[in-house]
Amino acid sequence: MGNFETKGQHFVALCMLGMLLFNYPILALFNVPGTLLGVPALYAYVFIAWAGLIAAMAYLAESSS
């Protein structure tokens, strides 16, 4: 049961991390003219951060400890 609760806390932390990543101060950092492989920095950042968050959630959900 302890594992279950720890996992829950990790999930809540991930949600808060996501809110941080997709909000004003950090989002503004990437709102610059540069591009990554032809994709504007902001778009590249949002999609990469989004994919990273989903990957972290999947890893956490599947992890046994």
């Binding site: 999930f11 809540v12 997709f22 989004w50 959630m57």
Partner: protein, 241 residues
């Protein structure tokens, strides 16, 4: 040029397919070999929140704001992180108290107040009505656009039609029949509406393909690849994204 009858026939064929999938999934569930036990089917069914209007809303937002269409997808992703804690608790409470609706849930949390339950029901119905009408409007607008093609006629120009020719009314009746047949025949908190979930999961595949088709068409049909889309968007001062 598509005729109204062709579109209606195709729509009914698609609906028939959904009925068949739902029926098959219910059969499998009764036989103890559920199709929706797969995490992939379950995940696909989550896309139920992408409604008929999403195609106009999301594509429209992407066209006018660029990245502004993303929050309605990122928001749910963030909420899913809380499911481990929140959804688990909701399910535990619902199963223990045999709760099948939002109104019952809220009422049960405050001493099984019938008045509160009724109030939640009224608020939910009033709140959801404009949203549902928007979905029906999306379906009937799509019908109008398809029938008028290749002439592009926006639904606002089409003028009023008599009630029995209004596609939205018929769509509403058919959807209600589907929901009654596969969703509300027996209410039980432990029941999973397997047929409904399977049909929704199949629809999600269709939606995914439709969205990818729109994306591919806009990127490579209207414009000349991703670089061109971004270059044109950057060059347009009216673009705020």
């Amino acid at each position: 040029m598509l005729h109204g009858t062709t579109i209606i026939l195709i729509s009914f064929a698609y609906l028939g397919l959904l009925f068949a999938i739902a029926y098959y999934a219910d059969l499998r569930a009764d036989a103890g070999r559920p199709v929706i036990a797969s995490p992939y089917i379950y995940s696909l069914s989550l896309a139920v929140y992408a409604t008929a209007w999403t195609f106009y809303g999301s594509v429209g937002r992407a066209a006018s704001d660029g990245i502004g269409f993303l929050p309605i997808y990122i928001g749910p992703t963030l909420m899913i992180a809380l499911w481990w804690v929140v959804l688990r608790k909701i399910l535990r409470i619902s199963k223990r108290n045999r709760i099948t609706s939002l109104a019952d849930f809220v009422a049960a949390r405050y001493g099984k107040s019938a008045l509160l339950g009724g109030l939640v029901t009224v608020i939910a119905v009033v709140g959801i009505l404009p949203y549902i009408s928007l979905q029906l409007k999306a379906v009937s607008s799509s019908f109008t656009i398809l029938v008028q093609y290749p002439e592009i006629m926006l639904p606002a120009q089409a003028g009023a039609v008599p009630m029995r020719e209004d596609t939205a009314l018929w769509v509403a009746l058919i959807l209600a029949a589907f929901t009654i047949a596969f969703g509300t025949r027996h209410l039980d908190a432990a029941e999973h509406h397997q047929g409904m979930v399977a049909a929704i999961a199949f629809e999600s595949v269709v939606k995914l393909l439709a969205f990818l088709a729109v994306g591919a068409f806009v990127t490579f049909g209207v414009y000349n690849g991703f670089g061109d889309v971004f270059a044109r968007a950057a060059a347009d001062p009216t673009d705020v994204g």
